[in-house]
Subunit: 293 residues, 4 copies
């Protein structure tokens, strides 16, 4: 396929390289052209503009961080909507809110283009080895056409349905489950500490039993080691995603009290100056609330 | 060792049989003598009273369901305290509250006996194959003396500390983490349903990724299949344990808002007539709150 | 009427004096006999025992602080149940839990006596001037017989129903509404402080408008003035009542997430060393959670 | 003064009429010109455009419902910013979010105009009699210049500070306290109902005691009477304001768990089809959660 790619940050780099490795023709674009050096050296060609990376392409992938950015890139004069050919696919692989996805889908539909949502699960190391999870949603034929890309980018694509926002909501739900797991561990660690028990004991019980999974092994270990200065996913990014989750719950009319607790703890962490720490610092936030710090 | 065992329910049966298999001399007692048939056939001897099962024993294991029951068995006239020899160990392997454990520990100490807490993690099938997790706490020498029993009963013993309540609190914390995981899944499933997504999609994303663990695979599947009529752990038992968790949080002065959500959902499930269903029915309780049922 | 009165603390003193002023014959009893000096000087006679204060009385009022105390006084050998004449009324005017009230009601019924619950609303100053509110519940004829006492003790009696626990639950519900009001003010004060607004401004807006009521004027002022060292109702008493509220919600199967927040804040206040402060210190607890202290 | 007024809905009508009664020269504008008939008959002059109502005016009041509307009216080409004279005051009396107020304040400052925020407390009946509360914030001199208008519009102005958003935050905090009061009453009513007590009893206890205030008397009565079909403030408007409160808490980094419960109940009410009912319908939403409906 001939493919465009906008947004060559750390995640985007790995994904684009995987697309190249699949033998696809790849045009790339990023406002920060320093991001393009490596991928061009690997065989991609650079386009100087959004229009340049879209014209004549079958599929253009975006991997941009904010709702506002992807909407700007897609909808501004000379943006993706104005440049993608009729029938072209905008494959949005960042994590965006429901409202943003709806806006994009409607805009592309008016221009006889198709939005496919394909938010990914995983960090840059998984991106570079093609081990990401991908949640997909959009018109069946369009999702099918993206199949070869999903195959090289991810270990598995989970198809969520025919409306692009379906993928968004699944991705966000996975995040809310993660947030609640962190809150729960934090509560557990504070509780055992109050009774003089080392956090490590609870960690071992959890991760060798019912909770033998990456969410608990990873964030739990950071909580036990208090190593939240080594930041994987910072509190502020958690808060950004939490606001997307909340907006989705709002539009869907779903009261989510468990999620609210996670969101409150994120706010509290920022209020106490821990906004730049890894989300595992929620253990310290809970400890503060318990009079332990 | 010569061992006594009180409480031969489904869990107790499996555990007692493992003790026999370790070559220990085993006396057993249960108010319901029909529970004794099998284990006696397997080589144990039956004692007609609590006193009978305690006299001259090195260790007496209790596997009883309620705080009130174990306290009664231990402290009534002619109970364990009055019958265990000096230096004897009461190894309490049920899940009891902090206050109950403290009461037992103090009573046995006065009688020159020792309480060791060893609550187990796992269901009857794991009990019968010696695959339970065991959280242990108590005086170091006493815990060490129980070592041969832990070896045959469980796959691993996690030592929580020198005060018996430490084990209780670790066990309860593991339960609270489980409760929060169920609440989180329930919220996620309701959220995706509101956007027309099959619950199975979120299930797959979770259990093939960050949440590839028994807690999510088991309860999540029951939620997806709506098979909560096949009851593993019913809502009412969850509520009993939740009250122990809450009491521990109270005594420890730990605000646990995430846990409160779980407890409220349990109450709601009972209020809506689902008290006898499997705890996975929390997915339906959340769906009700979301206007989905 | 001939009346007995057990529990001459600060509240009880005022209430007993009002009964005297109504022209009733009054026998009084307290384990701390120093509490009896004043009321005896005012015309009551002292009884040396619970039995002594109950024998031959139409009604015996108890004004004791704890569930355990009133149950002990009523049910121990030689206690109220053993001493009140048949048809006699135990008028329980303290704030007790549902389970305690049920236990008392059943015990007195077996002895052909009647329990009437009459928990009061108000502090000692209102007790001494007969301005308490009283919530009443119990058998209609018995409540009616107590009418002359209610008239002198309180400004108004609110009748809740024929089962004594009905009064308990109304009293506890009034407390939960108060707790939530304090939480709400605390949140509001923290929010405006974050935007540089004096707490006094919000206080004025509230108390000259929708919230022109004692709950807001009193606790709100203490929050604004940070004068929680002058203790009206301490955190620890709030926590005791909160546990009664929670037990009532449990038995009734009522999820109360708003109340849970109040309870968690009380726990947090104790954890931070504020257990002996006035409940208005919840404003500081919320401020802590907001990174303001 | 010569005054402009934009937004002659039910609240605006009453307020504009009060301004006329103060002897001020009044120009009015509304996109729905039918709203202007009465006020013009009373002595105001109609302007055909936003520009027309702003030119040469000392102060222009806006009383518009949505953030988006007031921003559009103020910032669009030919809007208030382009038409108000230098030194002119935009007096924004609707309830807007912090971000919207900051946007307006910055825009007017650039144009040498001044934003004063003056959100009002009260319903149309209070507006028509000049009995509204007003929370004011903005540059001291500008607020002072608005004094004569505040005098005729309201019973009292509460000054919150020099930044316009201060008034917003006080108004929103008052709303959050109200929301929590409704949640608390709802919990109390469900709790007493579970014990067979009429809601009226709790209502009487509250409103003749600690909660003898309009918030409880008004919404409480609607809850007791189940008369939420007579809509004063509908759930959907509550939800709109709740989202403003939440955004303010977000920007200020204030975890507000009590408020979250209110917001969740609003969402639940919408999910159950009660979005158009009066907010007192939260009592039914709580009753649903308790298995009572």
């Amino acid at each position: 396929m001939n493919v465009g790619f906008i947004g060559l940050g750390r995640m985007g780099q790995g994904m684009a390289r995987r697309i190249l490795s699949g033998g696809h023709d790849l045009l790339v674009h990023d406002v920060d052209t320093s991001h393009l050096t490596e991928i061009v050296a690997a065989g991609a060609r650079a386009a100087a503009s959004v229009a340049g990376v879209c014209e004549g392409r079958d599929v253009v992938v975006t991997m941009l961080v904010e709702d506002a950015t992807v909407i700007d890139v897609a909808l501004r004069n000379g943006g993706m909507r104005d440049s993608l050919p009729a029938g072209g696919i905008h494959l949005a692989m960042g994590t965006y809110g429901v409202a943003a996805i709806r806006t994009l889908a409607a805009a592309h539909a008016e221009a006889n283009q198709v939005l496919v949502a394909g938010p990914v699960l995983g960090r840059p190391d998984l991106a570079s080895t093609g081990q990401l999870g991908i949640v997909t949603a959009g018109r069946d034929d369009a999702v099918e056409r993206c199949g070869p890309l999903f195959q090289v980018i991810g270990r598995r694509a989970f198809h969520a349905g025919a409306t692009p926002e379906a993928a968004t909501v699944v991705k966000l739900s996975n995040n809310l489950v993660l947030g609640s797991a962190m809150v729960a561990m934090a509560e557990g660690f504070s509780l055992v500490r109050k009774y003089g028990v080392e956090a490590q004991v609870l960690y071992d019980v959890m991760t060798e039993g019912l909770f033998a999974a990456p969410a608990y092994k990873g964030y739990g270990k950071t909580m036990v080691d208090r190593s939240w200065d080594q930041v994987g996913s910072p509190i502020t990014v958690g808060l950004k995603d939490a606001n997307l989750i909340q907006a989705a719950a709002d539009l869907g009319r779903v009261p989510m009290p468990g999620f609210n607790v996670y969101r409150d703890r994120l706010l509290g962490a920022v209020a106490h100056g821990d906004g730049d720490k890894d989300q595992a610092v929620l253990a310290r936030e809970q400890a503060r609330a318990s009079g332990l710090e």
